[in-house]
C-alpha cells in the first residue's frame, strides 16, 4: 500500500492561500515598524480580545501563533530542548508555552525575534498553562502583566455573574492601560473592528457549510491557517473580511465544478490541534485512500459558531455580507462576552460530545481522528471519554494517536503511519 501512487491532495485554492500569506507578511512588517512609529506593543495570549488593544492603538503580538508557524517549519524542537534544560521545565508540559519562552530567551540564535513588548495581556480562556507562561515572561521581561480570568463554563449558557466578572475585568484592564500608558480607548473604532470581525465570522460559517459537500472541496487541515487571522489581525484593514470572501468563492467554485461525487470518499473529523510539522504527511496519507479531513472540532467551536441564518448568492460580495450583518445587535457579537463561551477547553465534556455528535451527523463523518496532543493537556485529557462516546453511542470508528503539535521530537512517523493505514483499511472495508 505504501508504494501506491498518491492521488492528488485536495489543496486550498491558490488565490486565498496567496492572500493569507501576504496578510501575514504585512502583519510581521507592521510589527517590526511599530516601535519606530511610536506604537505600543502588547504580547498577548490566545483568547485575549485583540480589538480592545487595537482600539487603544496598541499592536497585539501573539507569540503562541508565532511559535505555531515555527513548529510548522519543524524549528521548535531545538528551542524547547534549550528551555527545558535551562529552566528545568519538564518535557511533558505544553510545547507552545515552552517554545514561546524559548523564542524570547534564545534571542535570534535559534529563531527570529519578535519585537519586545511594552506590556503583556493574557487570559486563561484557552487554558491555565498560558497564564503561567505569561507570568514567567512577566518576571523575565519585567513588563506589566494584565490578566483576565475566564471561569469554566460548566453548564449550557453562561451565568450573569460570570459574564459580569469577565466583562468587568476587561473594562478594568482597559482603564489600567489607559492610565499607565496614556492610551485612549476609541469606542467607535472598537465597534467598527468588532463588526468587521463578525462579518468575517459570518462568511467563515458559510465556508464551513461548503465542507458538507461531496466530494469535499479541500482538505480541512489547511483551514487552521485561516483561523489565525481571527486571533491577531487588525480587522480594520481591507483584507478583513475580503480574505474569507475570496476563500468562500474559490471553494464554492470548486464545489460547483467538481462534478459527481466519487464512489467512496472517506470523510474524517479531526479532534484537537493539527500536528503542525506533519500536515503534509497526513494529507498525503489520507489522499492515498481517497480520504480527507472535512471538519475539525476547533472550527466548529470558533467563537461565533451559531447557526447562520444568512443566505448568500454566488459570487459572494462584500456588499452582501454587510447587508446581512448590519442589523445584528452589538451585544450578541461583543467579544468580551462571546469569548467566554468560545473556548473548547473551557466547556464541559458534555458540550464537546454534543459538538462531535452534531458534526458527525451534519458532515456525514465516517471516522474520527483524535490527536492526543502531548502539548495540550486540557484539550486531550477528555479524549478517552469522547472516544468511548463516539464508538459506543454513535457507532463511528475512532483512531487515537499520540503526538505533539509543537515538538517534532515526539513524532514517530512509521508508527503513526501503520496505525493510520490500518484505520483507513477499516473505514474502506
Amino acid at each position: 500500500m505504501r508504494n501506491r501512487k498518491t492521488k492528488n491532495i485536495k489543496k486550498i485554492p491558490a488565490a486565498p492561500l496567496f492572500m493569507v500569506n501576504n496578510i501575514f507578511t504585512d502583519y510581521y512588517r507592521r510589527l517590526r515598524s511599530a516601535r519606530k512609529n511610536n506604537q505600543r506593543l502588547a504580547w498577548t495570549s490566545i483568547g485575549f480580545p485583540k480589538n480592545l488593544l487595537y482600539a487603544m492603538n496598541i499592536v497585539p503580538v501573539y507569540p503562541q501563533l508565532h511559535v505555531g508557524f515555527q513548529a510548522s517549519r519543524g524549528l521548535t524542537g531545538q528551542i524547547i530542548e534549550h528551555v527545558e534544560g535551562k529552566y528545568e521545565i519538564p518535557h511533558d508540559l505544553c510545547g507552545e508555552i515552552k517554545s514561546m519562552i524559548g523564542t524570547i530567551i534564545n534571542g535570534d540564535r535559534l529563531s527570529f525575534t519578535l519585537p519586545e513588548p511594552h506590556l503583556l495581556a493574557a487570559s486563561n480562556c484557552a487554558c491555565s498553562a498560558q497564564i503561567k507562561g505569561f507570568n514567567f515572561l512577566h518576571h523575565y521581561l519585567k513588563v506589566p502583566l494584565f490578566f483576565s480570568d475566564y471561569p469554566c463554563v460548566s453548564r449550557d449558557g453562561t451565568d450573569p455573574h460570570v459574564l459580569a466578572y469577565v466583562k468587568g475585568q476587561l473594562d478594568e484592564i482597559v482603564r489600567s492601560i489607559e492610565t499607565r500608558f496614556g492610551a485612549r480607548f476609541d469606542e467607535q473604532l472598537y465597534y467598527r473592528l468588532t463588526f468587521n470581525d463578525f462579518k468575517a465570522y459570518t462568511v467563515w460559517l458559510e465556508i464551513m457549510k461548503l465542507f458538507r459537500n461531496k466530494p469535499v472541496p479541500a482538505d480541512a487541515i489547511d483551514l487552521y491557517l485561516f483561523l489565525v487571522p481571527f486571533f491577531c489581525m487588525d480587522s480594520g484593514r481591507d483584507a478583513f473580511p475580503d480574505l474569507y470572501i475570496m476563500l468562500y468563492n474559490a471553494l464554492y467554485e470548486r464545489c460547483r465544478n467538481q462534478g459527481s461525487p466519487p464512489k467512496r470518499e472517506i470523510r474524517l473529523l479531526w479532534d484537537a490541534l493539527p500536528v503542525n510539522h506533519k500536515n503534509q504527511f497526513f494529507k498525503k496519507t489520507f489522499s492515498r485512500y481517497g480520504a480527507a479531513v472535512v471538519m475539525s472540532t476547533y472550527f466548529s467551536d470558533s467563537p461565533s459558531s451559531k447557526t447562520s441564518r444568512l443566505k448568500f448568492t454566488y459570487p459572494l460580495t462584500r456588499a452582501q455580507v454587510e447587508d446581512a450583518v448590519q442589523n445584528e445587535p452589538f451585544e450578541k457579537i461583543e467579544p468580551r462576552i462571546n469569548h467566554i463561551s468560545g473556548s473548547v477547553n473551557h466547556r464541559i465534556i458534555a458540550h464537546r460530545k454534543g459538538t462531535i455528535k452534531k458534526i458527525i451527523e451534519t458532515y456525514d463523518i465516517d471516522g474520527v481522528i483524535m490527536h492526543l496532543d502531548r502539548s495540550c493537556r486540557v484539550g486531550c485529557l477528555p479524549q478517552y471519554e469522547l472516544t468511548h462516546f463516539v464508538e459506543t453511542e454513535l457507532k463511528i470508528p475512532v483512531l487515537v494517536f499520540d503526538s505533539n503539535s509543537m515538538d517534532e521530537r515526539y513524532f514517530a512517523e512509521s508508527q503513526v503511519l501503520t496505525r493510520l493505514e490500518a484505520f483507513m483499511e477499516r473505514l474502506r472495508s
Binding site: 521545565i89 511533558d92 491555565s128 471561569p151 458534555a350 502531548r374 493537556r377
Partner: protein, 372 residues
C-alpha cells in the same frame, strides 16, 4: 492518652482515611467529598454533611487510565481510580472546585460515568480584587442553592455562622500548634504537625478541634530527634498525603520548620474576613488561601516561599513537584529564577506515589542537606 497518642491516631487515619469511614459505627452520618482547599467546606458542614477530602488512593492497581490518558498527574489518577473502585461509595455526593484544568476534566469524567453525584464550584483563578470577590460570592450563592436543591438540605444564615465558628476555631487551634512547634521544635516534628493537620480532612471538624485542644494541653511526644544537625528546611508542593516520606526526610537530620504543602499549611487561612454576610465570609476565607495554581496580584509562589524561608530562618527549600502538573511546573520555572536570584538553596524532587524515599532521592537530599 497523651499528645503522642493523638499523633499516632493521626497517622493511622491518614494511612487509610476512607476505610475507617465505611466501617465506622457512626456511618449513618452524611458524608460529602470535596477535592481541594478552595471548596467551601463550611457550607457542606452547615448543610449537615461531614466534609471529607478526596486525596485518591494509592492502594491497589491504579485503574484511572481507563478514563484518562497517561500524561495526567498522579493526584488525579489516584482520585479517578478511587472513584472507579468505589472507594468513595459511602459519600452522598462530591463537590469539585475547578482548581486547575485537569481537575475540571476529571470532575467531568466522574459526572459522565456517574461515579458519584457531582456538584461544581467554579473558583476564580485570580484571587485578588473586588471583582473577584463579587464573582465568588455570586458563585457560592449559586452553589449553595444547588446543594440545597439536589440534596434536600437547608443552609440558613445561623447554621452557616455556627459552621464558620467551628472552622475559625479549627484554624486558630492549628496556628496555635504551629506556634508551639516553632518554639519547641524538639517536642513535635514537622511531619507530625502535618499529620495532625491532615487528620482534620477525614474526621468531623468538631472532633478535630477536640483533638487539637487536647494536644495543646498535652504536647509531649517522642518525635524529638528530628533536626539533629540543627538545619531547617521548608517543604512545598504535594506529597500524596504520604507523611512517612516527610518522616524519612527528617530522619536525615533536618527539621521541617514550615511548609507550603497542598495537604498542609495552604489550607490555613490568614483570618482576614470582611463580613457583610456569612457567604461573604466564606468567600474571604477562600481568597485568603494561596496555591501556585492560582494568580494573586503582588504575590506568587516564589514570594510565598521566600517569605516563609525568611520568617522561619530556614536553610533551604525542598520542592515536591508533581509530574504532569502544568501550573505548578510552569510556576516553578519562574520560582527557580527568583530563588536563584535571592541565593536561596532549594532542591526539586518528584514525590513518590508509593513508599518512601528511593535511594536516588535520598542521595540527592543528603547532598542538599550537606550544602545548607
Amino acid at each position: 492518652m497523651g499528645g503522642e497518642n493523638i499523633i499516632k491516631e493521626a497517622y493511622e487515619i491518614i494511612r487509610a482515611p476512607y476505610d475507617g469511614l465505611t466501617s465506622n459505627p457512626h456511618s449513618h452520618r452524611r458524608y460529602f467529598g470535596y477535592n481541594c482547599i478552595y471548596v467551601p467546606e463550611e457550607m457542606l458542614h452547615a448543610a449537615g454533611f461531614i466534609p471529607i477530602r478526596l486525596f485518591g488512593s494509592t492502594a491497589g492497581i491504579n485503574t484511572a487510565e481507563k478514563y484518562i490518558p497517561s500524561h495526567c498527574c498522579d493526584f488525579i489518577k489516584n482520585m479517578l481510580s478511587a472513584f472507579d473502585r468505589g472507594t468513595y461509595g459511602f459519600m452522598e455526593g462530591v463537590v469539585f472546585g475547578f482548581c486547575c484544568d485537569t481537575m475540571q476534566v476529571a470532575s467531568n469524567i466522574v459526572m459522565e460515568r456517574r461515579h458519584a453525584k457531582v456538584l461544581h464550584v467554579n473558583i476564580p483563578t485570580k484571587l485578588t480584587g473586588e471583582l473577584t470577590r463579587r464573582y465568588l460570592v455570586a458563585e457560592l450563592q449559586r452553589f449553595k442553592k444547588n446543594l440545597e436543591d439536589r440534596f434536600n438540605v437547608k443552609i440558613d444564615e445561623d447554621r452557616l455562622n455556627e459552621s464558620l465558628d467551628v472552622y475559625r476555631e479549627n484554624n486558630r487551634l492549628m496556628l496555635e500548634v504551629k506556634a508551639h512547634k516553632a518554639n519547641h521544635s524538639d517536642s513535635i516534628s514537622g511531619a507530625d504537625y502535618l499529620a495532625l493537620l491532615s487528620m482534620g480532612y477525614f474526621i468531623p471538624r468538631q472532633d478535630h478541634n477536640e483533638r487539637l485542644k487536647f494536644f495543646i494541653d498535652n504536647p509531649e511526644t517522642e518525635s524529638a530527634g528530628s533536626g539533629k544537625t540543627g538545619k531547617k528546611v521548608i517543604v512545598a508542593g504535594y506529597v500524596h498525603n504520604n507523611f512517612e516520606l516527610l518522616n524519612q526526610i527528617e530522619a536525615l537530620g533536618v527539621a521541617i520548620i514550615d511548609d507550603d504543602l497542598c495537604e498542609g499549611s495552604r489550607y490555613l487561612t490568614s483570618g482576614a474576613e470582611f463580613g457583610q454576610s456569612p457567604v461573604h465570609t466564606v468567600a474571604d476565607r477562600i481568597l485568603s488561601r494561596y496555591c501556585p495554581v492560582k494568580q494573586a496580584s503582588g504575590e506568587d509562589f516564589a514570594d510565598v516561599l521566600i517569605k516563609k524561608y525568611t520568617e522561619a530562618s530556614a536553610g533551604g527549600i525542598i520542592i515536591f513537584l508533581l509530574r504532569f502538573c502544568d501550573p505548578q511546573s510552569m510556576e516553578y520555572a519562574a520560582t527557580r529564577y527568583k530563588l536563584e536570584a535571592e541565593n536561596i538553596p532549594f532542591v526539586v524532587i518528584e514525590p513518590p506515589v508509593h513508599g518512601g524515599l528511593s535511594g536516588q532521592i535520598e542521595t540527592r537530599l543528603e547532598a542538599f542537606i550537606e550544602r545548607i
